[in-house]
């Protein structure tokens, strides 16, 4: 059987800065549009241009469920946009066999003035369904979204939960041969998320070709057989999903070990009056940094470039599959917190007894001063938790559920 998607040296270039020379005025833009042989090709590798995707050759067989993994800005969404024809490639080509449905950003195309019923038809056809198909699946969609009573109410009067459920329900009932899914499972409450995940698992097992993009590696691992890792617009790994995820995690750590000031993640944000220079977690004694023992004391130390007044910090600990385990925020203060004038451009967080199970974890940081975000950095640091004794109990062997142990006492019959 022929491949479903075959790309050949696919590339997409974006122009940075919209009003740079060459396209600056209306007159030039019109002249450009009518110029024979297309735009001037010189200087396309200059600093004004960014290759969001370059030289990507990828074959996807019918029925494959593929997860796209990579940092923000690695080209995942660009690839989906190209495959769904929203935008054109700059070079190369892709052959796509079969009807493509995309589930990008839930709720796209809802019109607030239209009722739920009208929006189901509008959104369904926007997502590529025939009118007859929508009619056929109408009851199913309504039931899935749990909005029977509000079918004839304009969507603008829906709660945000309701409209998100409806949008997902329409999208999830698409039946194209190829389905592109971009980060849409994190909607609704926990019960609905479980339902959506169940629906996606069903879709993935129906022999349809599916491409998933998500930052939630646990979902990717659960749904996909094959993983493709994109980095700066190029595919750097392609294989069984587990191996690709491991390689991605390794690349994250590589990035973190560098001086954090050199990191230029696209999602790094803030006013930068002060920035995060370094973060490390240390156990007691003179153990090496970033290796701590479960149940032992640990200190997260964050070095900054400047000391500002009223600095606050939020630490999120994320497990190996990208799921947040816990977060602490200094803005929610306790009497035991200390403001230490001697500390300098530095913030520390002490944990009396680390309740984490053995494994690798990542630290995400958000730094504020004067109520403004100064610096926010994902994967600022990584650490390894080694087996130990938590609250008087040895940590369980591998394979236990969750990442955390709560202090607890059993009461059992003798």
């Amino acid at each position: 059987m022929a491949t479903t998607i075959q790309t050949h040296a696919l590339g997409k270039r974006y122009r940075l800065g919209l009003y740079k020379r060459g396209y600056g005025t209306l007159r030039e833009a019109i002249a450009e549009a009518f110029r024979r042989g297309g735009p001037d090709e010189s200087d396309y590798d200059g600093p004004d241009f960014l290759w969001a995707l370059r030289d990507l050759t990828l074959a996807i067989e019918p029925g494959e469920v593929v997860g796209l993994i990579g940092h923000n800005g690695a080209g995942k969404s660009t690839l989906l946009k190209l495959l769904s024809r929203i935008t054109e490639p700059t070079e190369g080509y892709a052959d796509v066999t079969g009807r493509v449905g995309s589930l990008l950003e839930v709720g796209t195309g809802f019109h607030p003035e239209l009722t739920g019923r009208e929006n189901i038809y509008l959104n369904g056809s926007i997502l590529g369904m025939r009118k007859s198909e929508i009619r056929e699946r109408f009851d199913e969609i309504v039931e899935f979204a749990e909005i029977e009573r509000f079918l004839d109410t304009p969507v603008k009067r829906y709660s945000s939960g309701m409209s998100v459920r409806l949008a997902f329900a329409v999208a999830a009932h698409l039946e194209p041969e190829i389905l592109l899914v971009d980060e849409v499972l994190a909607v609704g409450d926990a019960a609905f998320q479980r339902k959506s995940l169940g629906k996606m698992t069903e879709v993935a097992s129906q022999g349809r070709t599916v491409i998933f993009v998500s930052h939630n590696l646990a979902i990717i691992q659960a749904l996909c057989e094959r993983g493709v890792l994109l980095q700066r617009g190029e595919a750097v790994a392609d294989g069984p999903v587990k191996a690709t995820i491991d390689q991605y995690l390794a690349s994250l750590e590589e990035g973190a070990s560098k001086d954090l000031l050199e990191r230029t993640d696209r999602d790094r944000r803030g006013y930068y009056d002060t920035q995060i220079r370094r973060v490390e977690i240390r156990g007691g004694g003179d153990s090496p940094p970033d290796v701590v023992v479960a149940g032992e004391p640990a200190t997260i130390a964050i070095e900054l470039t400047e000391q500002l007044a009223t600095m606050e910090c939020r630490v999120t600990i994320v497990n190996g599959l990208g799921q947040p385990v816990t977060s602490f925020d200094s803005e929610i203060s306790a009497a035991t917190d200390i403001r230490d004038p001697e500390l300098g451009a530095r913030i520390e967080c002490e944990i009396a007894s680390l309740p984490l199970l053995p494994g690798r974890y990542r630290i995400d940081l958000l730094l504020k001063a004067g109520r403004q975000i100064q610096d926010g950095l994902q994967a600022a640091g990584f650490f390894e938790v080694q087996p130990g004794v938590i609250d008087g109990r040895p940590t369980p062997a591998a394979g236990s559920d969750g990442d955390i142990v709560l202090p607890h006492i059993w009461r059992l019959p003798p």
């Binding site: 022929a2 974006y14 122009r15 919209l18 209306l26 833009a29 019109i30 549009a33 009518f34 042989g37 297309g38 946009k81 190209l82 495959l83 769904s84 024809r85 929203i86 935008t87 054109e88 490639p89 700059t90 070079e91 190369g92 080509y93 892709a94 052959d95 796509v96 066999t97 079969g98 009807r99 995309s102 990008l104 950003e105 796209t108 195309g109 019109h111 003035e113 239209l114 009208e118 038809y121 509008l122 056809s125 926007i126 997502l127 369904m129 025939r130 009118k131 304009p154 039946e175 041969e177 129906q206």
Partner: protein, 281 residues
């Protein structure tokens, strides 16, 4: 549950395109016909939702202008009206003019107003300004009925000339679509269009014999003015609905040719820049 796939899936090659290949591909438009219908339906439904007067606005707009124009141009300034009652003379012109002006105003903003769709979903982008035009046709139909009712009440009887209305509407629609597609495409890159369009519509109104008869112009100019496609449409409407004077076929002919040129030029420009919309909107 799963229905068999209706046809053998075809392979589409996604690659950089050059030249005029998209809008003018009827196959592509046909494939997305259901979506085209839904977008037009949405534009019609949404137009007067949560308004007090609803579709009455379709009539109120030209009638309101008729009253104002009759007062100032008809009574005070004493503008000639080819021997017709001035209110009828201006209303017969205002009905197609309002259709044209609204299609231009709403159509030129349609891509930007729907930027969430344009940047997330693929469909032939022409559906956006075209949907606005289709929704405008409903307004036109309503106001046309009112116009003819008023003509009858006034005691005039339309002649067979009324059969030329569909042709005149097609000319107006082609001119409107050609202009609004081009403007909507420019609007994606340069939001200046938003400020230019209302001004452009004002100018265009006075370049069109809505408040005055085209017979006010001296000869080479009267005929030449029909390069503005709305000249033929407006004069044609007067002749067709009020049943007076000679058929202005010279004006209609020139305007028709001009509308066809504008239509294809607008579409060609749209076609040429369509591929970049998602990157710029």
């Amino acid at each position: 549950m799963l229905r068999p796939v209706e046809t053998k899936p075809e392979t589409i090659r996604l690659q950089p395109t050059r030249g005029f290949s998209r809008v003018l591909a009827p196959h592509e438009l046909w494939r997305y016909r259901d979506l085209a219908g839904q977008i037009a339906l949405r534009d019609i439904t949404v137009r007067y939702r949560q308004t007090l007067l609803g579709a009455v606005w379709a009539v109120l707009q030209p009638i309101g202008f008729m009253v104002v124009f009759s007062l100032f141009f008809g009574n005070l300034a004493g503008v000639a009206s080819n021997g017709l009652p001035y209110p009828l003379f201006s209303l017969a012109a205002l009905v197609p003019w309002t259709f044209f002006a609204n299609a231009l105003l709403l159509g030129s903003d349609s891509l930007v107003a729907n930027s969430a769709l344009v940047s997330k979903i693929y469909f032939p982008r022409i559906f956006m300004p075209a949907g606005i035009l289709v929704a405008g046709c409903v307004d036109l139909a309503i106001s046309l009925v009112i116009l003819i009712a008023i003509v009858l009440i006034w005691g005039l009887a339309p002649t067979v000339a009324i059969l030329s209305l569909p042709l005149l509407i097609v000319i107006a629609a082609m001119a409107a679509l050609g202009t609004s597609t081009a403007l909507s495409a420019i609007n994606v890159r340069f939001r200046d269009v938003r400020y230019v369009v209302p001004f452009l519509i004002q100018l265009w109104l006075f370049a069109t014999p809505v408040v005055y008869p085209s017979s006010l112009l001296d000869e080479p100019w009267r005929t030449l003015s029909a390069i503005n496609p709305m000249v033929g449409v407006v004069e044609g409407f007067r002749w067709a609905t009020l049943g007076s004077g000679n058929a202005p076929w010279d004006l209609i002919g020139i305007s028709a040719v001009s509308a066809v040129v504008i239509f294809f030029a607008g579409l060609a420009y749209f076609d040429r820049v369509e591929r970049g919309f998602a990157d710029y909107v």
